[in-house]
């Protein structure tokens, strides 16, 4: 649910959370990202860093340079004057991410399909047929959380974590999908793998997708995965980027 007016919550004396709602919702996330963008443009003295998440903007600030009241007043001013409104509900960039759903690359797809009353094939078709929104990064560098998972693929998280995810794992958990950059244990299900590097230290920019971008998956077979993986390893971006009107 989107709040009538944002909530300002202290996270200690040097951080503040500006909360726009209590759910994972594109309209709420659009408000978070609009405020984030506006604050970046305004270069408010004392504001150190902003972290957009699903429904809130986390702000680190130096209270010896700007008081909480002054910070809140500045943000409220931007919101009240309409300067922090999402100007367009459409996202401007769309990524098409190659993804291999072959069980060899999708270690948990058979297990997840059984739990969901699907076949591995129908799960892959449903996952690749949906439009996603990159809501936020979290957990670890380059772990990008995607909303827009079809309801039929909503799956409870595991009660205890599975082993390490492979690099580029595409996962589902709860009502979300996720692309993982590096191996980590997780309570989610690995249902595919992309040869794209979500995060590469030697690439500029190191992170591919920006919060708010639209994302689609394009199914690829294991041979194509091998070919694209070699190109990605050599530094090429193998996901396709389009600018939407």
């Amino acid at each position: 649910m989107e709040y009538e007016t944002p909530r300002f919550l202290d996270c200690g004396e040097a951080a503040l959370s500006v909360e726009f709602g209590d759910s994972v919702d594109p309209a709420i996330n659009a408000r978070v990202l609009a405020l984030d963008e506006r604050l970046h443009a305004s270069a408010l003295a004392g504001l150190r860093e902003t972290t957009p998440t699903y429904r809130a903007l986390f702000l680190r600030y130096e209270p010896l340079e700007i008081s909480r009241d002054a910070l809140i007043a500045a943000i409220q001013g931007l919101i009240d004057s309409g300067q922090a409104n999402p100007c367009d509900s459409q996202t401007a960039v769309r990524w098409t991410i190659p993804c291999c759903y072959d069980p060899e690359f999708a270690e948990d797809i058979v297990e997840a399909a059984e739990l969901l009353g699907q076949t591995a094939r129908s799960l892959a078709q449903l996952h690749a047929g949906a439009d996603y929104r990159a809501y936020m990064y979290g957990f670890a560098p380059g772990w990008c959380y995607l909303g827009g998972l079809p309801d039929a693929l909503a799956i409870p998280r595991r009660t205890s974590p599975r082993g390490l995810t492979p690099q580029g794992a595409t996962l589902i958990g709860g009502a979300l999908s996720l692309i993982a950059a590096n191996p980590m244990p997780t309570g989610w299900y690995v249902i595919g793998r992309t040869p794209e590097r979500m995060f590469a230290l030697d690439r500029d920019p190191p992170f591919l997708i920006a919060p708010g971008d639209a994302v689609r998956f394009e199914p690829i077979d294991p041979e194509t995965f091998g070919m694209l993986d070699a190109r990605a390893l050599a530094g090429e971006t193998v996901a396709r980027r389009e600018t939407l009107k």
């Binding site: 202290d10 004396e13 040097a14 990064y137 670890a140």
Partner: protein, 332 residues
């Protein structure tokens, strides 16, 4: 020849830290940085360093090569020795070529910083030299046999000096905190009980989080929130009701309610507690928290005092030196 610091011995969790990898939390990057920023700043400023080695309870030992290094040590009350001579737990010293500086866990404190004057010759990763072991960003934890190179080495003092600073002194005063951001997930009597309880640092505590052992904290309306940003010092209450204080290596976002957040000027004191040690909390308002922050950073800005070693320390040192000398002679 450039000056090098050789790692002679290193327990687990000896890492390089600078102020942290800020600005990329929007991509899931944890800032890392020192557990006790006050001690880190005392050491780095005294030595004229741009980073420090953070030593854990496992201890470490170092030697200089190529030049006499200007080294500052500050942190918990560790047992610090220069070629066997005891030194104050916070000190500035010349580390002559071949001399051995050892740090062992002492009477209190969990982290100690060793700063070497000059510029650590190590390329930053995403703008920082801080180690974040979990994500593999920054240098790997240090192990025995490694060497760190320093450019523009700063001039060392002629003899060891004690560093004294009020913020380095240990104190069992309650940790001050601000309620929130999700204190509304807890009934007022649960918050009251949380604030009145005596807590103990759990055994499985590390740079990521300190476990707080004590009464179970019950949620009023579930333990799942939509993940949001996490500050260092946030006290998260997971489903089992056992609080976790999230520290320097925390995840940048989290999905459990955070009942309160320890204020910046008390984070170093919290970090210096060891597993098994007790603590309590006191809620303050924003104005009190900021006044404490102002005092804390003003004192740090003024820097620690440099003082000659106390007579007691000097006597002890001479005795120790004689003892060490005796051992060497006996071997010869």
């Amino acid at each position: 020849m450039s000056a090098r610091l050789l790692v002679d011995a290193a327990g687990p969790g000896v890492t390089i830290q600078d102020q942290g990898r800020f600005g990329l939390s929007r991509y899931g990057v944890t800032p890392a940085g020192p557990m006790d920023v006050g001690a880190y700043l005392a050491a780095t400023r005294a030595a004229g360093a741009n980073s420090a080695i953070e030593v854990s309870l496992g201890g470490a030992a170092f030697r200089a090569e190529g030049a006499t290094l200007c080294v500052a040590v500050a942190g918990g009350d560790f047992d610090i020795r220069l070629d066997g001579r005891p030194l104050p737990s916070a000190c500035l010293l010349p580390l002559a070529e071949g001399a051995r500086l050892t740090l062992r866990a002492g009477s209190s404190g969990a982290w100690c910083y060793v700063a070497v004057g000059g510029t650590l010759d190590l390329a930053p990763t995403l703008g920082s030299r801080a180690t974040h072991a979990r994500s593999g960003l920054g240098p790997k934890p240090l192990v025995a046999g490694e060497a760190l190179t320093f450019a523009e080495a700063a001039p060392p003092p002629l003899e060891p000096l004690a560093l004294t600073a009020p913020w380095l002194a240990s104190s069992d005063a309650p940790m001050r905190l601000l309620l929130g951001p999700q204190d509304d997930y807890f009934a007022p009597e649960e918050i009251e009980a949380f604030l009145n309880a005596r807590w103990r640092i759990g055994a499985r505590s590390d740079r990521m989080a300190y476990r707080l052992e004590g009464p179970t904290v019950r949620h009023r309306r579930g333990h799942d929130i939509v993940s949001d940003g996490v500050a260092m010092g946030a006290i998260q209450i997971p489903g089992d009701g056992a609080p976790l204080a999230l520290m320097a290596d925390r995840q940048p976002t989290g999905g459990y309610p955070k009942i309160a957040t320890v204020i910046g000027p008390d984070l170093g004191r919290l970090a210096q507690l060891r597993p098994g040690e007790d603590l309590s909390f006191r809620a303050v308002d924003w104005d009190e928290a900021v006044a404490a922050r102002r005092d804390y950073f003003a004192a740090i800005e003024a820097g620690p005092k440099r003082e000659p070693l106390s007579a007691e320390m000097t006597t002890e040192s001479l005795l120790a030196e004689n003892l060490v000398g005796g051992v060497v002679n006996a071997k010869d």
